[in-house]
Assembly symmetry: D2
Homo-oligomer: 307 residues x 4
Amino acid sequence: MSSPLTFQPVLDRIAAEIEQTPGRGRPADYIPALAACDPRSFGMAVAELDGTVYGVGDWRQPFSTQSITKVFTLALDLAHEADELWEHVGREPSGNPFNSLVQLEYENGIPRNPFINAGALVVTDRLHTQTGDAAGTLLDFLRAESGNEHLAINEDVAASESAHGDRNAALGHFMASYGNIGNPVPALLDAYFRQCSVEASCADLALATGFLARHGIRADGSRLLTMSQAKEVNAVMLTCGTYDAAGEFAYRVGLPGKSGVGGGIIAVVPGRCTVCVWSPGLDGHGNSVAGVAALDRFTTITGLSVF
Amino acid sequence: MSSPLTFQPVLDRIAAEIEQTPGRGRPADYIPALAACDPRSFGMAVAELDGTVYGVGDWRQPFSTQSITKVFTLALDLAHEADELWEHVGREPSGNPFNSLVQLEYENGIPRNPFINAGALVVTDRLHTQTGDAAGTLLDFLRAESGNEHLAINEDVAASESAHGDRNAALGHFMASYGNIGNPVPALLDAYFRQCSVEASCADLALATGFLARHGIRADGSRLLTMSQAKEVNAVMLTCGTYDAAGEFAYRVGLPGKSGVGGGIIAVVPGRCTVCVWSPGLDGHGNSVAGVAALDRFTTITGLSVF
Amino acid sequence: MSSPLTFQPVLDRIAAEIEQTPGRGRPADYIPALAACDPRSFGMAVAELDGTVYGVGDWRQPFSTQSITKVFTLALDLAHEADELWEHVGREPSGNPFNSLVQLEYENGIPRNPFINAGALVVTDRLHTQTGDAAGTLLDFLRAESGNEHLAINEDVAASESAHGDRNAALGHFMASYGNIGNPVPALLDAYFRQCSVEASCADLALATGFLARHGIRADGSRLLTMSQAKEVNAVMLTCGTYDAAGEFAYRVGLPGKSGVGGGIIAVVPGRCTVCVWSPGLDGHGNSVAGVAALDRFTTITGLSVF
Amino acid sequence: MSSPLTFQPVLDRIAAEIEQTPGRGRPADYIPALAACDPRSFGMAVAELDGTVYGVGDWRQPFSTQSITKVFTLALDLAHEADELWEHVGREPSGNPFNSLVQLEYENGIPRNPFINAGALVVTDRLHTQTGDAAGTLLDFLRAESGNEHLAINEDVAASESAHGDRNAALGHFMASYGNIGNPVPALLDAYFRQCSVEASCADLALATGFLARHGIRADGSRLLTMSQAKEVNAVMLTCGTYDAAGEFAYRVGLPGKSGVGGGIIAVVPGRCTVCVWSPGLDGHGNSVAGVAALDRFTTITGLSVF
């Protein structure tokens, strides 16, 4: 891989292979907006460190980012308060489903990591306290990094998430009972559901993830995170980024990655590029079937696995 | 124990012994109204099947009934919908603290029994659906059985419970996420916190519990529960009535009983009488220290243990 | 129920009803000796306090006592070391299947109660240390109380248990790792499997259980347990005696009872009589289907429930 | 890092820094042989792909490899039976301590990954079945890769492990009860304790790990694992290699690594080199305090983190 020009044929080849693959899983069906997605949709983009973007398929179509936003709120909160955060959320794999309450109870309301729902709620709660508007801060950041001023929150999706949000409400109140939530739980949930409802395309997200491939440097050259913090976020992505299938993702794809139930996955090749893939059909762990397959092919073809 | 006249000296003797006992535990301190209770308070009452009541100490002073009300809402809901209830809550001991979420998750939102908080929320939810006003239905019943029209809900305590209600809110939303709650969670919590805030005295509660000693017959001679249902409630009290110390209560006291964090405990001698004791200082399981000791003495002196 | 003469017609009536009942469950099939039992077998015996025995059906046929023996080893160990035992095993319902390791781990190798397998292993271990031969001590006791010198251990069954004993071996080694086992684990397992392989009839077991109805007094009039200890054993039977269906047994039958996977169940009416029923077909909890049904009928017909 | 010659000054600098660091943790004390280690011992070695080795401190002193051997038995079993293994052990982080039985019970005797003790027992059991002598196969491999014919099993340590092996015996019998162990449990435990008792130096282990940096190629140029399998082992090391501190290791060190309670840690820089560090003092997770610190410095100084 000596030349960036070679990414386009790689993407074309992957798209052609995915096209031939039967079985795409099923879109998330807990809210109508996600259930309505066409499982045949597929898009993939690669962004180089300098912002050059390559893409294939539906790579410019916005989709619901959902849990992918947890990476950005984590980075933004670390930028604001640094290690203080780690007193309120851990950095270890959970070994349990993403919305489980069991471990939370045994560990006194401190979530295992920032990417299970409980941990993401803590991160959003703290970012909301730091900035007064967690979802707005996130949106500003994504717009700046992607250069796309049209990125927006889908308020219908946010309302739909809220209407089906009992499990997250339970997590929020449960952690509040341990004193680990600073905002009123309804306000936190509102911020969280709006955060999850940001819509962006593969191109937008590949660009927005660039600071993790650049060891903390934003698109405009300013520093968001220290090199150590950027590596930390990548490490947490690799060990905890794909729900309870983090191990499988690590050995199949071999890159730090984060998935969302909207069918998107972002991945980082440190020092080299970022990738975003989207296809709404999910496997039993909540990860995009075609998305994982495409990233598996990507690292196999390019040799760009960290292992 | 051939004559009811002998209960008064028994109570006097127990009160004298308790008076000599150092160490009463500490009142619940999660809300101010409970924390303000004098741990030296002690009252005890015995009601015969015919409504004759004997008492000692602070037996006529109202206190916060709290979880004791779970017995009455259980009976009232069974009277309304019978076995339908048991599809939504189990009847087995939980082996976990009263407000744990762990077992609830492993068992898909069906609480182990009606006396852990999760189970009591389900019972109140269903009674609220049946009657439109769970707390009001409870209050009417307690007034009728005790003959005390002055029984009331302490709305300050209810508000205070609500302000410290994150754990119960978590339980409610969590079960709602499994489809096991019919009312909106905030409405359910309001009903539940008002139910817990009913105030009554030892005399009131000993009388109100009488239907369980009379195998289902109310004070006015009408039937609330079938004999089988009344035995069922007694059995659930014996195996699950005192949080995660049900085993200890069973072998020390040997009667179906139910405690509350207000420091009250009711107990049933089937076919013979009911007992209510109150002292606000609690042990580590949330049971009244002097209350358990007094009941232990009661069954030892009278031989009225079921074992 | 004023006269002992009335037990015979009660038993005859129950046997006739059970005869008409379809569905007996399936015998335990983890070892051949149990799997070979005829699920249509049914016997039931009642023993009065004075040793008068009534019976019906296969009430004199020996069967594999299995977990029923846990009641006797518990009583025998309490007779030897009294409350010392309770530092090594709890007295609370477990809320988990009888051979679960989960709670054991969270509670540092102290089993919840003497009737789950882990707790029974602790009791046998301690009795073995006290007497040098736990299974022999048990056998001597059962022979003396039943007056049947022919009671014996089925060594083939014991060998078969041992060959299928990995789960119990795991429990033994696990507790040994916490320092809660005094004998070498293989020696303990040998004693335990021999204990479980004692064979006795309904008549034998109803008589042998008599000391629990007589508040601690043996058949020869000597005292095995204090009144308080006898009530304690009854309380533990009621709250923990039928695996994870203790609650269901309590509200259906309403007596302290203990079941075994051989299909036997013993039950105690304190101060009145003991009952033993046997039918090898089991329900999903490991309790005899016809046995529970027969005891349910027994308390319904006689009114002898403790509730 | 363009020249291999630069590793020596890196190692010298790290050793000098570690020398100044107070607090080394405490050696494992569950067996005398480990407890007797001097916590001030420190050695570190780096092996290039071609077998060139650099070292500092006690890098040639043999120590007890313990859990580090789990990497080699995993690789050897994969070489024998490939993906068949993954039907008997998972590849996901466990989120629980290395010797926990909880998850094992919820997941029916299938361990979460090959590096918790339960998983390592399954791997050894299968390798033992494949080869007839798991520990011997391991020893032959380590001798061949390190070129050190003197590598040996410390039989005293193996005997000592066996004498303190109740927890592992519990794991073995527990999995056997689910049918997930093929050999008799005592034979498996003997093989496992002997495997853990292999002694080797930092130099030996850095060389023996080389096949993971060479994507599956052994020292003699033959292939042990496919490229995909080699990456898989690296991925499992990164996500599961350091007990319940895998996340912390990933973000501090950023390399696939595996620790042992003897105080050793091996780490892989794919395509570049391997590292082994040894210092017997452990932290609360069972990882070498100075070892983790030295690897942290190594990736910081050289920039050779995978992130």
